[in-house]
């Protein structure tokens, strides 16, 4: 009886030692996922800012002639890409691709008038710019949990011109 009790002594410590790496792994996962979600939120805000900037590409001559507000698609597209690149450049070193390359590969949709935005699926009633980008994010901690250090985030943002 006493021998059995002696053999059980220290079991909690053994469990704790075995459990420690597992808990550290959970901590690493929490940090990595938190970092990724933080980056996703930030890029979403950047896309909203770029889309809002692109809504400055209003057809001024049309407005002066009394026509309803509409965006000049080519100009809005160029503005959206320019400000996607400018803002992603300010994101820090987690982004694993050049801002210019991400902006060049972005999907930009300019919607004039009513309809459904093909990127967001939302019904729009005003001139709207929507942007979707794929951003490779480098999170070295992910290597510790068996996932590649680079994960691609797909993020969408949009803004409508106030009329």
């Amino acid at each position: 009886m006493s021998g059995r009790r002696d053999s059980e002594r220290g079991q909690i410590a053994v469990y704790a030692i075995l459990l420690f790496p597992l808990l550290m792994l959970v901590l690493v996962l929490v940090l990595a996922v938190g970092t990724l979600e933080d980056l996703r939120t930030r890029i979403g805000a950047e896309l909203d800012t770029a889309a809002l900037t692109a809504t400055q590409a209003l057809d001024v001559q049309g407005l002066a002639a009394g026509q309803p507000p509409r965006l000049v698609p080519g100009e809005a597209d160029a503005l959206a890409r320019e400000y996607v690149a400018r803002n992603i450049a300010a994101s820090g070193d987690l982004v694993a691709e050049s801002p210019a390359s991400i902006a060049a590969g972005a999907q930009v949709v300019v919607t004039n008038g009513s309809g459904v935005d093909p990127l967001t699926g939302v019904a729009v009633t005003a001139p709207t710019v929507s942007i979707r980008v794929e951003v490779p994010a480098r999170v070295p901690l992910l290597s510790l949990v068996g996932i590649g250090p680079v994960v691609t985030l797909t993020v969408t943002g949009s803004a409508a011109a106030r009329t």
């Binding site: 704790a16 929490v30 940090l31 933080d38 805000a45 900037t53």
Partner: protein, 140 residues
């Protein structure tokens, strides 16, 4: 032949009773508490970063509308920081350029020293910043 009465001082189970509890009390804080503290500290820093992003984005929008570094821009940033539980007095705000003509890029940077507080070990300042760039809508 002597008989051991269960629960008596001679019962070996009595000497082992509570051993697991004692071990758990000693070991669990060493294993679980650092993980818990790590998650809480990281969450707090993430919160600070998200508030900074929101403040810089709102400030950039206000700067685009004003086309310059105005008190209204700083008030907008301060309001976002306060709303997120941060002290605006501890934040450094920079707007570049301070006056932007129509169509010119204008960037707003908000920086703060986040606090990583670990009980019994101390506090560490973690420098954090956020920058957003937009386009001036004003002709000066």
């Amino acid at each position: 032949m002597s008989t051991i009465v269960p629960g008596s001082p001679g019962d070996p189970r009595r000497s082992a009773r509570g051993l697991a509890t004692v071990e758990a009390v000693l070991v669990v804080p060493l294993v679980l508490v650092p993980v818990l503290v790590g998650v809480v500290v990281f969450g707090s820093l993430e919160h600070t970063h998200l508030v900074l992003d929101a403040a810089a984005a709102a400030g950039a929008r206000a700067a685009a509308v004003a086309g310059a570094d105005t008190p209204a821009v700083r008030a907008r940033i301060d309001a976002e920081l306060t709303g997120g539980g941060l002290d605006p007095a501890s934040a450094q705000i920079s707007v570049d350029p301070s006056v932007a003509g129509w169509g010119q890029p204008i960037s707003v940077r908000v920086a703060i020293a986040g606090q990583a507080s670990i009980p019994f070990l101390g506090n560490w300042a973690v420098p954090m910043s956020s920058t957003f760039v937009t386009r001036s809508e004003v002709t000066h």
